[in-house]
C-alpha cells in the first residue's frame, strides 16, 4: 500500500515556548485505520491541526496524497475531513443546512442524495430540520461527523470522536467507521478509549511529549509487547512465597490464595513447565488456573510511563 499521508520532521513550538511536536515522522497507508494514542498534551491534536491547516508548523513537511499542505493546500485539504475534539457547532442552524454548508465550503456542489445518505447512516435523518442547539451532545457529535463526511473525504481525522458519548452511540459510530473504511477511506483516530483502538485499528502509533515513540501493526504490537499472566488459585492459602520458588518472581495476592506468574510471550521458553514442577516439588497444590493476555491499554500505559 502507498502512503496517503506523509509527515517528515514536523515540529511545532508555540509562542509560549512549549514544544508540542519534536521532529515527527509518520507515514499513513492508504485505506488503513490508524489509531494515534497518547496522554493529554502529548501532541495529538496539534499534529492533526497542522495537517488540516488550523495550526502553522514551525518546521517540517506534510503531504496528503502527494500534495504539500502549504503550497498545494486546496488539493490537500479537499481530501481531508476533520471531526474535532470539541463539540463546536453553530446554535441556530439546522442539521441539514450545516451539513450542506460544510459540503459547499469544501468546494462541492449540492448533492441532496449524498447528504441524505450521510444523515441516515448517522441516524440523523429525523433530526435534519432541528436546530443544532436543540440536540444532545451525542447528536451534535454525529453532526460533526456528518459535516466531515459531507464532501466525501479520502482521509478522515477523528479526534476523540467518542469522548463523552454513551455506549450505544459509541458502538453506532464504530459501525460507521468500519463501513467508511470498507469504502476505502483512510481513518486516523485519536482516542482515550484504548479498547476502541484495540477493536478498530490496523496500526497503532503512540505519541508522548511531542514524539512518536512507536508505530506498529496492532497485532504485532500486542504480540511483541504483550505479556501474559498465569494465575494459580491455590487449594490452601499460604502466607509467603517459598524460597524454592524465588527464581520465578511470583506475586502472591493479598489473601494468599493465588500466585501470579508474568511471562513474555516472545520468549522461546515461557518457564511454565519449570514453574509447575517447582510448585509441585514445594508441596503446593492448586485447584484452578487461568491465563490472561495484557491489553493494549496496559501496553500503552507501560509505554508512556517508560523513562525516555
Amino acid at each position: 500500500m502507498s502512503s496517503i499521508l506523509s509527515i517528515s520532521n514536523l515540529s511545532k513550538t508555540y509562542d509560549s515556548g512549549f514544544q508540542a511536536l519534536k521532529a515527527v515522522n509518520l507515514e499513513i497507508e492508504r485505506g488503513e485505520l490508524f489509531a494515534l494514542l497518547g496522554p493529554n498534551g502529548a501532541g495529538k491534536t496539534t499534529l492533526i491541526s497542522i495537517i488540516c491547516g488550523i495550526v502553522t508548523a514551525s518546521s517540517g513537511k506534510v503531504t496528503v496524497d502527494g500534495h504539500d499542505i502549504v503550497r498545494d493546500f486546496r488539493a490537500a485539504r479537499s481530501m481531508i475531513g476533520l471531526v474535532p475534539q470539541e463539540l463546536t457547532t453553530d446554535a441556530f442552524e439546522t442539521v441539514w443546512d450545516t451539513v450542506n454548508f460544510s459540503r459547499g465550503l469544501f468546494g462541492k456542489g449540492k448533492n441532496p442524495d449524498l447528504v441524505e445518505r450521510v444523515l441516515r447512516d448517522l441516524s440523523l435523518w429525523d433530526k435534519k430540520d432541528n436546530r443544532l442547539m436543540t440536540l444532545s451532545g451525542g447528536m451534535k457529535r454525529r453532526v460533526l461527523i456528518a459535516k466531515a463526511l459531507a464532501h466525501e473525504p479520502r482521509l478522515l481525522f477523528l479526534d476523540e470522536p467518542t469522548a463523552g458519548v454513551d455506549v450505544e452511540l459509541r458502538r453506532d459510530m464504530w459501525r460507521v467507521v468500519r463501513r467508511l473504511q470498507e469504502t476505502g477511506v483512510t481513518i486516523i483516530l485519536t482516542t482515550h478509549y484504548i479498547e476502541e483502538a484495540e477493536d478498530l485499528a490496523d496500526r497503532v502509533g503512540v505519541i508522548n511529549k511531542g514524539e512518536i515513540i512507536l508505530v506498529e501493526n496492532k497485532a504485532e504490537l500486542m504480540h511483541k509487547l504483550g505479556r501474559k499472566q498465569l494465575t494459580l488459585h491455590l487449594a490452601e492459602p499460604i502466607t509467603a512465597i517459598p524460597d524454592a520458588l524465588a527464581e520465578h518472581q511470583l506475586e502472591l495476592n493479598a489473601s494468599g490464595e493465588a500466585l501470579v506468574y508474568t511471562y513474555d510471550t516472545r520468549g522461546e521458553r515461557t518457564g511454565i513447565t519449570a514453574l509447575l514442577q517447582d510448585i509441585h516439588a514445594a508441596g503446593i497444590r492448586f485447584r484452578d488456573l487461568n491465563t490472561k493476555q495484557s491489553s493494549l491499554e496496559e501496553i500503552f500505559v507501560d509505554l508512556v510511563k517508560a523513562p525516555s
Binding site: 446554535a91 450542506n100 459540503r103 468546494g107
Partner: protein
C-alpha cells in the same frame, strides 16, 4: 477560485440576517425614522435651510452614512468574531479556501446587508422629506465603497477582539463619535475655522461629504478628495487584512 465556498459562507451570513431580521434591518430603520422625527420634523422645522436644502433633507445622506458605517462594521466584526468565539472557525480554516475567498464572502455579506439597510433608510427618508439624487451613480459608488471599506474594518476588529466588550469598543468609542462629528447633522462650514481644520482629520467627513454631494451637488470638500480618501482608507484596510492572513494573527497559533 472556490466559488462554492464563497457562496456557502455568503449564504450562511445572509441567513443570519434573516434569522435576526429585527436586529439587522428593522431596528436601524426604526432608529433612523426617530432621527427624522426629532431632527427633521420637530427641530428641523426651526432650522433654516443649508445651502438651499431643507434641514430634514440635508441630514438624509449623513443618516444613511451613519447607519452604513455602523452596520458594515458590526455585521462584519460579529460575522468573523462569532465563529472564533464558538470555535467553528476551525472548519473555515481547514477548508480548501483561500484568504481572499474568506474575505470576499464575509465582507461581501456584511456590505450587502449594510447596503440593503442604507437603501431601506433612503426609502424611509423619502416618506419624511422630498429627496433628490443629482448623481445616482456616484451615490451608489460611495455606498458600495463605504460599506466595503467599513466591512473590512469590521472584519479586522472581529479578528482583533478578544471578547465581546472589545468587539463593541471600537464602534462605540471611535466610529460613532467620528460619524456624529463628521458632518452627519451639519455642514462643517458651520464650525469655527479652527474646528474645521481639526475636523478634516476625521475620515468620516470625506465619506459624508462625497455622499451628500451625490445627492445635492454640495460638499464640504471636493468630491475627488472624498473619493481619494475613501480609496485610501479602503487600501489601508486591505493591507491590514492581508497582513492578518499572512501572519495568521489571532486566527492560527
Amino acid at each position: 477560485m472556490n466559488l462554492y465556498a464563497i457562496s456557502a459562507i455568503y449564504r450562511f451570513e445572509m441567513a443570519r440576517t434573516g434569522r435576526t431580521l429585527f436586529q439587522s434591518i428593522i431596528s436601524p430603520v426604526i432608529s433612523t425614522s426617530l432621527y427624522f422625527v426629532v431632527f427633521g420634523a420637530a427641530i428641523g422645522s426651526r432650522i433654516s435651510e443649508v445651502d438651499g436644502v431643507s434641514y430634514g433633507a440635508f441630514i438624509v445622506p449623513g443618516l444613511i452614512m451613519l447607519s452604513l458605517l455602523t452596520q458594515s462594521l458590526s455585521n462584519a466584526s460579529f460575522g468573523i468574531y462569532f465563529p472564533r468565539f464558538t470555535g467553528t472557525i476551525y472548519e473555515v480554516l481547514s477548508a480548501p479556501v483561500s484568504y481572499l475567498e474568506i474575505v470576499i464572502a464575509y465582507v461581501g455579506a456584511a456590505a450587502t446587508k449594510s447596503i440593503i439597510v442604507g437603501l431601506i433608510i433612503l426609502a424611509t427618508a423619502g416618506l419624511f422629506v422630498p429627496l433628490e439624487i443629482q448623481h445616482p451613480l456616484w451615490m451608489l459608488l460611495f455606498l458600495v465603497l463605504t460599506s466595503v471599506t467599513f466591512a473590512l474594518f469590521g472584519f479586522i476588529i472581529g479578528i482583533w477582539a478578544g471578547n465581546f466588550e472589545q468587539l463593541q469598543l471600537v464602534p462605540l468609542l471611535i466610529v460613532t463619535p467620528l460619524a456624529f462629528l463628521g458632518g452627519s447633522f451639519y455642514s462643517i462650514s458651520m464650525l469655527p475655522p479652527a474646528w474645521q481644520t481639526v475636523t478634516l482629520f476625521n475620515p468620516v467627513v470625506y465619506l459624508i461629504s462625497g455622499f451628500r454631494w451625490s445627492f445635492y451637488g454640495m460638499a464640504d470638500v471636493g468630491v475627488g478628495v472624498s473619493l481619494a480618501m475613501t480609496l485610501l482608507f479602503l487600501a489601508i484596510c486591505i493591507a491590514i487584512v492581508a497582513w492578518i492572513f499572512k501572519t495568521g494573527y489571532r486566527l492560527k497559533s
